[in-house]
């Protein structure tokens, strides 16, 4: 049997292409929605973690540590298969988005915290001495400086979120991976899986290279 015919069968690829594209669309929707929700959650958690009263700070730290420790797949299966027992029934998309967001939010909170703590104390003091409120200090002085610091690690985290969307196929969400496995079953040929892998790479490899460049540029700016 011809290896090329098996793994790179153009005819099979052509037939399965519409399914793959449908799956890709869903993967991107899930990934982007989770990234954005995770950013919002992460910023919120980070501000609680740094500036709220002690008990809330403690609870926020607990949340962040728990959700950085739990395997995403375990969390996803709990959300999808266990929550219905207490009457919470989420669709496969909502379950996947919830799990991805909860975890991404925890990582994002830590990234933002590092970004805020990297801004020198004198910046807070100069803003305070000018009469800016804590909220104005954050919005106009601290966060704009933090953003530059956090862009590489945030991009990294976003790549991880997109990669982890593939786990949603476990709860029967027809994402890129799920479509590919179905197309493979239909065609009795693994080419759609190779196609899916190529599509993941086409999106994520440039992002990985971009992060590398950003990190290099940051390091050069430092010295």
């Amino acid at each position: 049997m011809d290896l090329f015919e098996t793994f790179f069968n153009l005819e099979v690829l052509q037939q399965s292409w519409p399914m793959l594209i449908k799956g890709l669309w869903l993967t991107l929707k899930l990934g982007i929605a989770s990234i954005i929700a995770g950013l919002v959650l992460g910023l919120f958690l980070c501000l609680l973690r740094l500036y709220s009263v002690a008990p809330v700070r403690f609870l926020t730290r607990c949340y962040i540590n728990v959700f950085r420790s739990i395997p995403l797949l375990v969390l996803l299966i709990i959300v999808y298969y266990a929550l219905p027992f207490v009457g919470i029934r989420l669709s496969s998309f909502a379950s996947a988005m919830a799990a991805l967001t909860l975890v991404s939010g925890a990582y994002t909170a830590e990234i933002f915290r590092a970004g805020i703590e990297a801004v020198p104390k004198g910046q807070f003091e100069a803003a305070a001495a000018l009469g800016l409120s804590p909220r104005q200090t954050m919005a106009d002085v601290i966060l704009p400086q933090s953003v530059r610091i956090v862009i590489p690690p945030l991009t990294n985290n976003s790549i991880n979120v997109i990669k982890d969307t593939a786990l949603a196929s476990v709860v029967a969400m027809p994402d890129l991976l799920k479509q590919a496995t179905q197309a493979q079953a239909l065609a009795a040929n693994p080419t759609p899986l190779i196609g899916a892998a190529a599509i993941y790479l086409a999106f994520l490899l440039p992002a990985v290279l971009l992060v590398g460049q950003l990190e290099n540029r940051m390091n050069r700016g430092k010295s």
């Binding site: 020198p120 004198g122 003091e125 001495a129 000018l130 009469g131 409120s133 106009d140």
Partner: protein, 245 residues
């Protein structure tokens, strides 16, 4: 007599460490006061209590123009009235020179953009930096950055200015340009409290010199008297050490 800035029984603790041990001080409107003393004597701590960058003991009292310095609306008012210039400039690196100066008037006073921009340009002219408005702080020398920091503080039209060793981080050849701007300010009638090691500046410009040691005011008075005939041995030793080298 109570001054424009009035400090009563000021105590400050860093944990168990007693950094200010009960300071009483009155500063009149328009007065220029230089604070001198050895490292660790509490000079920075003293002026940072006035705008409450450092919190201080509950039973201490600081009044600025009759307003008690305490968290909340009072502090917001005091901070718009009292500007501060730091040893390390602390300009906002992501904003241009003009934006650095405009930020506080825009946000705190809600000044219109065109107005704030025109005022920024006037202030830049006053500190001799007309051509640098659109640069970022990183593109300026230390002396220029400190002059921008002074302009930024002036943009809130403060009645008092606190300086914490404004020339200590500068290369020697840039000290003069900053002191010139400060000398100008002193003549303009703004109240100034200047922590400095520049004894020449203190002698020429100050209305009063305060010598601190160990978290307390040891001696204060007319610069001519303090420099010519210090009463306290600790003041004498300090001045000798500073003026000798």
């Amino acid at each position: 007599m109570t001054g424009y800035i009035s400090i009563r029984n000021l105590h400050k603790y860093y944990g168990p460490f007693h950094a200010l041990t009960g300071i009483d001080l009155d500063i009149a409107e328009g007065e220029v006061v230089c604070v001198v003393g050895p490292s660790g004597s509490g000079k920075s701590t003293l002026i940072r209590c006035i705008n409450m960058l450092e919190p201080f003991s509950e039973d201490s009292e600081i009044l600025v123009d009759g307003v008690r310095v305490k968290p909340g609306a009072n502090l917001a008012k005091v901070r718009t009235e009292v500007g501060m210039v730091f040893q390390s400039f602390n300009l906002f690196p992501h904003l241009t020179v003009r934006e650095n100066i405009m930020l506080a008037p825009r946000r705190v006073r809600r000044t219109r953009k065109s107005e704030a921009s025109a005022e920024a340009d006037r202030l830049l002219a006053r500190v001799g930096l007309t051509d640098h408005a659109d640069k970022y702080p990183s593109g300026l020398s230390g002396g220029q950055q400190q002059r921008v920091a002074i302009a930024r503080a002036l943009a809130m039209e403060p009645r008092a200015l606190l300086f914490d060793e404004p020339t200590s981080a500068l290369d020697p050849e840039m000290v003069g340009e900053v002191l010139d701007v400060m000398r100008d300010l002193a003549r303009s009638g703004v109240t100034m409290i200047v922590v400095t090691h520049e004894m020449g500046f203190a002698r020429q410009v100050a209305d009063r010199v305060i010598f601190m040691d160990g978290g307390a005011v040891v001696e204060s008075g007319d610069p001519a008297d303090i420099f010519a005939a210090p009463k306290e041995a600790r003041t004498r030793d300090f001045l000798q050490a500073v003026l000798d080298h």
